[in-house]
């Protein structure tokens, strides 16, 4: 059983910019442990002769030619942005958040 500790959940929460209650920390520690256990079971099935993979199909070298294609109209982007100013995305101040 690869238990995920409360400290690990708190660390993950900080990286993900999530504020968790004490109860949620316990809850997620339990759930994440179960997920890690489930994934670990794959290792039991995969023998030494099955190499780890990051992609389901054995394809390499899929490239595109270096050709410029039109992007998206700015007005359309602006319409989807939560906040927009001076032709740019407006985001909250960055320091002082952590």
């Amino acid at each position: 059983m690869a238990a995920i500790t409360r400290a690990e959940v708190e660390h993950l929460a900080r990286l993900a910019r999530l504020e968790l209650t004490e109860g949620e920390i316990d809850h997620y520690a339990e759930q994440l442990s179960a997920i890690v256990d489930a994934v670990a079971r794959v290792s039991e099935v995969a023998a030494q002769d099955i190499p780890p993979t990051s992609h389901p199909i054995p394809v390499t070298n899929t490239f595109r030619p270096d050709v410029v294609r039109p992007g998206v109209d700015r007005d359309e982007i602006a319409a989807g942005a939560p906040a927009w100013e001076d032709d740019r995305f407006r985001v909250p101040r960055i320091l002082g958040e952590s």
């Binding site: 660390h11 900080r14 990286l15 993900a16 910019r17 990051s54 992609h55 199909i57 394809v59 390499t60 070298n61 899929t62 490239f63 595109r64 030619p65 270096d66 050709v67 410029v68 294609r69 039109p70 992007g71 998206v72 700015r74 982007i77 100013e85 001076d86 032709d87 740019r88 995305f89 407006r90 985001v91 909250p92 101040r93 960055i94 320091l95 952590s98």
Partner: protein
């Protein structure tokens, strides 16, 4: 603002007596591809904000990246030029972090499987004992994408501190970058700042020669992170600082020097160097602490599931190898021989960052001696005064060719030529416009000069007598008077010849 608090420093020479500097350089260069790394958006610099974006580089749901073939080729060619091994199989990785410069909340990079690794670059620095070569070993060259550009607004300084909010332009997000990382550079001693600068200069020249990037440092297309630590005598390593985003060759040298002086003072005081990110300030030449590493960065890298591995074949690599151009060091040796100049003279051109400009000036038809003289003399002085790069001055090889032609046909003197360039550098126009505007014409016709000579002789009869008596060196006083009378617009040598002929005196 920057530099408001005094930072204790130990004089450079003294610092080097007790400590051995160890450097590490991480250089990011934007490749010169037409389209971005993973989508077809244009990479052109200076576009209106958010006009070179699409669902992929905006990180919109459902979009998928596809690798730019030319970016891979450029990275392999750079790796080959740096004598690296090329991976036969490697992957991209996600570098996860929350910051609005990447809308995906991760940057696609490479982690433990760089495309190129284990290379070197030889650089030459000038020392009191002549040129000395250093081998800088390369750890890796990998591919990644650039981030968007943030403008901090609301505060009064435009800097991140005091900003109320930020505005983001994603035109730059997704432009292909290569990151070149050195192994620790040890043994440079007091030459460490020069080695760092020479390395970045050589990298820049190499990339330009390869045509993989135009490397416009003023546009931020080459950015350097400078790691410096000091090893106290008898210890292998010290704690390093990482100075981020050093954006000019001169700044690289200054940042290394400053960190050596600062860390030496810290260590000598019995304190510890803090491992941290620092920022370099162009105005003061100092570094100040940035984000603390207290929360050690945790990027949770994992293989990018949206991209397939890159597995360059031997044939492809060899084909790319065959496209490698003459490397800068070989080119310097060739030009040195073509122009018939010495190693020292070539080193002077390289140090002045004038080699390309001199080559272009010679190509424009100017004699090599004159081309070198203008760039390493007058123009270097002006560039240093203004704190700008030589290539950013307003003067061009074509200007020099025009001025030299006018000197040759007698329309300008060397002195007037300086005045012409003064005008060109000040933005008064091209050579002919400045000449017309400033009225810079050699007073050349003999009758005008003769009447000035006669007037000067009449004003100084005693001098005239001396010259007639054979004291030729006294002629200087008359020539000076004529130059003054013609407001410096006469050819002094010609005045002297006319004067002596007039008095019937032989040289």
């Amino acid at each position: 603002m920057s530099g408001s608090t005094a930072i204790t420093r130990m004089p450079f020479d003294q610092a080097l007596q007790s400590f051995e500097p160890v450097l590490g350089l991480e250089t990011h260069v934007e490749l010169g591809t037409a389209s971005k790394m993973f989508c077809g958006c244009a990479t052109e610099f200076g576009g209106a904000p958010n006009t070179q974006v699409c669902p992929t580089c905006l990180g919109l749901p459902g979009s998928l990246p596809v690798v730019n073939a030319v970016a891979v080729e450029s990275t392999i060619r750079m790796g080959l030029a740096l004598h690296c091994d090329i991976a036969s199989w490697c992957r991209f990785a996600r570098k996860n972090y929350f910051y609005p410069d990447m809308p995906k909340d991760y940057q696609i990079s490479q982690y433990d499987e760089p495309l190129c690794f284990d290379g070197y670059l030889d650089v030459v620095v000038a020392t009191d004992d002549g040129p000395r070569e250093f081998r800088v070993e390369i750890e890796r060259v990998h591919m990644e994408e650039d981030t968007g550009k943030l403008t901090h607004a609301g505060g009064d300084t435009g800097r991140i501190h005091g900003a109320d909010y930020s505005l983001v332009d994603y035109n730059r997000a997704g432009i292909p970058l290569i990151e070149i990382v050195t192994k620790p550079i040890v043994g440079a001693g007091s030459l460490a700042p020069l080695v760092a600068r020479a390395y970045v200069t050589e990298l820049r020249d190499l990339m330009r020669a390869l045509g993989v990037s135009d490397v416009r440092m003023d546009q931020g297309s080459l950015r350097c992170d400078v790691n410096v630590s000091l090893a106290p005598a008898g210890e292998p390593w010290g704690t390093r600082s990482e100075t981020k985003n050093v954006n000019s060759l001169r700044s690289v040298e200054r940042a290394v020097r400053f960190e050596i002086e600062r860390q030496a003072a810290v260590l000598t005081d019995g304190e510890r160097v803090v491992q941290e990110t620092r920022h370099f300030h162009e105005d003061t030449g100092e570094t100040t602490p940035g984000r603390s590493k207290e929360h050690a960065e945790d990027y949770r890298y994992f293989p990018e599931p949206d991209l397939v591995p890159v597995a360059p074949s031997e044939d492809w690599i060899e084909q790319l190898r065959s496209t490698l151009p003459e490397v800068p060091s070989a080119r310097r040796a060739r030009l040195r021989d073509e122009w018939g100049i010495s190693d020292l003279e070539m080193q002077t051109l390289v140090n002045a960052e004038a080699l390309e400009l001199v080559e272009a000036t010679i190509a424009a038809g100017v004699d090599q001696g004159a081309a070198r003289k203008w760039w390493t003399g007058e123009f270097t002085r002006v560039a240093n005064e203004q704190g700008v790069a030589l290539e950013d001055l307003r003067v061009t090889p074509a200007h020099i060719a025009r001025v030299e032609a006018l000197i040759t046909d007698g329309s300008l003197t060397d002195k007037l030529a300086r005045s012409v360039f003064e005008g060109v550098l000040a933005g008064e126009g091209d050579v002919d416009q400045v000449i017309a505007e400033r009225g810079l014409v050699v007073v050349g016709d003999d009758s005008t000069l003769m009447s000035a000579i006669e007037q000067a002789l009449a004003d100084q009869p005693d001098v005239a007598e001396k010259i007639r008596g054979g004291k030729v060196q006294a002629a200087g006083a008359i020539v000076g008077a004529v130059m003054k009378a013609t407001k410096g617009q006469a050819d002094a040598a010609k005045v002297r010849t006319l004067l002596l002929a007039h008095l019937g005196v032989e040289e």
